[in-house]
């Protein structure tokens, strides 16, 4: 497989930009999924709607559960990304300062 160089030039980011990347995107994704879950829950909170949906094979409970799962997993992913970013930042910091214990 041929390696494709990044289209973007590499340079050292400021620490704030580190936090602003993956974890922030995932947090935004979690918030969007939570809003989607709330909108769907509001829609099917009307008894008539829930029954109409069930009558035509819309699985209301499963749908709401799926939304809940998505929000939970997005939260978890945001946490993981945050940890990865912290590790990377500390790695970057240590590389600036030299290997830990190497001085």
């Amino acid at each position: 497989m041929t390696e494709t160089p990044s289209a973007f030039a590499l340079s050292a980011p400021p620490p704030a930009a580190v936090d602003a990347t993956a974890s922030r995107a995932l947090t935004a994704a979690g918030a969007a999924a939570a809003e989607a879950r709330d909108a769907a829950a509001r829609a099917v909170d009307v008894d008539w709607v829930a029954r109409a949906a069930r009558a035509y094979e819309g699985r209301v409970d499963e749908a709401l559960r799926a939304f809940g799962d998505a929000v939970t997993l997005l939260d978890a992913a945001a946490g993981s990304a945050r940890r990865a970013e912290e590790r990377a930042r500390s790695g970057a910091a240590s590389s600036c300062l030299g290997p830990a214990g190497g001085r």
């Binding site: 973007f8 980011p13 509001r42 009558a55 939304f67």
Partner: protein, 479 residues
């Protein structure tokens, strides 16, 4: 279950608007889930490449580019230390899991939105559709009947008059001839007798039972078997409760004999016969509805609440009874339930909540001049034949005879009830309550009435009796 059972009618505009609002909310939820997927994609790029191009930054977020990297060569993670690389790989795994969960939520949401839209759309469409079809549709079964009658009755003029449904003309013409034949043999009029003994559980001459309160429409269909098997020409009226709150359930079983031309005394005694079928499908007075009118007159007080439940011939008789103007002035017909009845083309006034149950694998309910006119107060449950109950009935009787049975219709209704269609749920709740489901311990009394033709005047063949002579339903076009 898919479309094995279709339910039409029973909705109101307000409910449809509610469903549309819900559909709009679900569409908004779609939008937010799409946003979530976009953010997930960004997170994946950031974690994989160390870059944040969407933010206008082309800078790595880590120590990428370090010569002592642990990440995959060529990736933005190449410069990460081992712990950071492991943490990043774990985060990418979590992102993949979260993305899968969002996709699953999207799939569920799509199914939910489609279901809600279908519910909202179907009911609006069917209201218009029913009205359109009323004027021009003639089911195949009716055409078959018409063809059969043409062969049987060559001397009769079978051409439809302007504005009259062909089958009504055919059946009307046929029944006029048969009626003449019948009256020539036995005279006109139905004698109605209160009976207390009959066949019960296959044993003749036993006391006829006081029927229990029907817990549901399906139960009421089951109760029809009692008068059905009690003896020739028997129908029943049940009182539920007592005092001023008492309500009445009229149970009209179907055809018992297939006589159309009498060949001797006794042949025409039973009004539950094909002659009544033809009269009713042809839009004329029938001896069966005369019998019902007399029975009501004897035991149901004026102004009382009445639900009429009928199977096959009993179903069309029930429909004629609840739509009869004279009878509507005397009684409050709160509900009508028909199973396998050729009652299409008859508009039931909104004061009566109507429910028709039928299936595509039995011919009887197709022997009518038009489809059942579904509307806000008229719900039609129709099985295509692909559902479990009808398939089972076909399996037990390959030529389809069993598909017209009461048990099959009750089973189809139970299947439909399990769908929890909002329109049907509401109709069933109202009908169940009218039958007495909310008062299972209420006192009941059941009367059985046997109808018997004959006795009065004799008229010339083909002449028929004058309309409106008897206490029953006046003839005329289906309303």
């Amino acid at each position: 279950m898919g479309d094995a059972i279709t339910i039409t009618g029973g909705y109101t505009a307000a409910e449809t608007a509610t469903l549309r609002d819900a559909a709009a909310a679900l569409r908004a939820a779609f939008g937010r889930l799409d946003d979530a997927r976009l953010e997930l994609a960004r997170a994946r790029v950031a974690l994989s490449t160390g870059e944040v191009p969407w933010a206008g930054r082309t800078t790595p977020w880590s120590g990428a580019g370090s010569p002592r990297g642990w990440g995959p060569p060529g990736s933005g993670l190449a410069g990460l230390g081992p712990e950071a690389a492991r943490a990043t790989a774990a985060a990418l795994d979590d992102v993949a899991s979260a993305d899968g969960a969002v996709l699953r939520a999207l799939g569920q949401l799509e199914a939910l939105a489609v279901a809600v839209l279908r519910a909202a759309h179907l009911y609006e469409e069917h209201d218009d559709l029913a009205a359109r079809l009323l004027d021009d549709a003639v089911p195949a079964g009716v055409q078959l009947l018409a063809a059969g009658l043409e062969l049987l009755l060559p001397p009769l003029a079978l051409t439809g008059r302007a504005g009259e449904a062909p089958v009504a003309t055919v059946a009307g013409a046929a029944s006029r001839a048969f009626d003449g034949a019948a009256t020539a043999q036995q005279g006109d009029g139905v004698r109605v007798e209160d009976v207390t003994r009959g066949t019960v559980d296959g044993v003749p001459d036993r006391p006829l039972p006081d029927l229990p309160v029907a817990g549901s429409v399906e139960d009421a269909l089951g109760l029809l078997e009692v008068p059905n098997k009690a003896g020739p020409g028997v129908m029943a009226v049940q009182r539920v409760g007592d005092g001023p709150d008492a309500r009445y359930v009229v149970l009209l079983p179907g055809t018992q004999t297939w006589n159309v031309v009498g060949d001797g005394a006794g042949d025409f005694a039973n009004p539950r016969d094909l002659t009544s079928d033809l009269d009713l499908v042809g839009g004329r007075a029938s001896d069966y509805t005369d019998q019902v009118a007399q029975a009501l007159d004897r035991v149901v007080p004026e102004g009382a609440s009445v639900v009429v439940v009928g199977h096959s011939l009993g179903g069309i008789a029930a429909t004629r009874v609840v739509t009869d103007r004279a009878l509507r002035r005397r009684y409050r017909f709160t509900g009508l339930v028909t199973a396998g009845a050729p009652s299409g083309g008859i508009r039931v006034p909104d004061g009566t909540l109507a429910l028709n149950v039928e299936n595509a694998r039995e011919v009887v309910s197709a022997l009518d001049p038009g489809p059942n006119p579904a509307g806000p107060r008229h719900v039609v449950v129709r099985a295509s034949g692909d559902d479990e109950v009808v398939r089972g009935a076909l399996g037990s009787a390959p030529y389809g005879g069993a598909t017209h049975g009461l048990a099959v219709h009750a089973g189809v209704l139970a299947e439909a009830r399990a769908k929890h269609d909002p329109a049907l749920d509401r109709a069933l709740a109202e009908l169940d309550a009218s039958l007495g489901a909310g008062t299972p311990g209420a006192p009941t009394r059941t009367w059985y009435f046997r109808g018997e033709r004959g006795g009065a005047q004799v008229v010339a063949p083909g002449d028929g009796r004058p309309d409106g002579v008897s206490a029953g339903v006046p003839p005329g076009r289906p309303r």
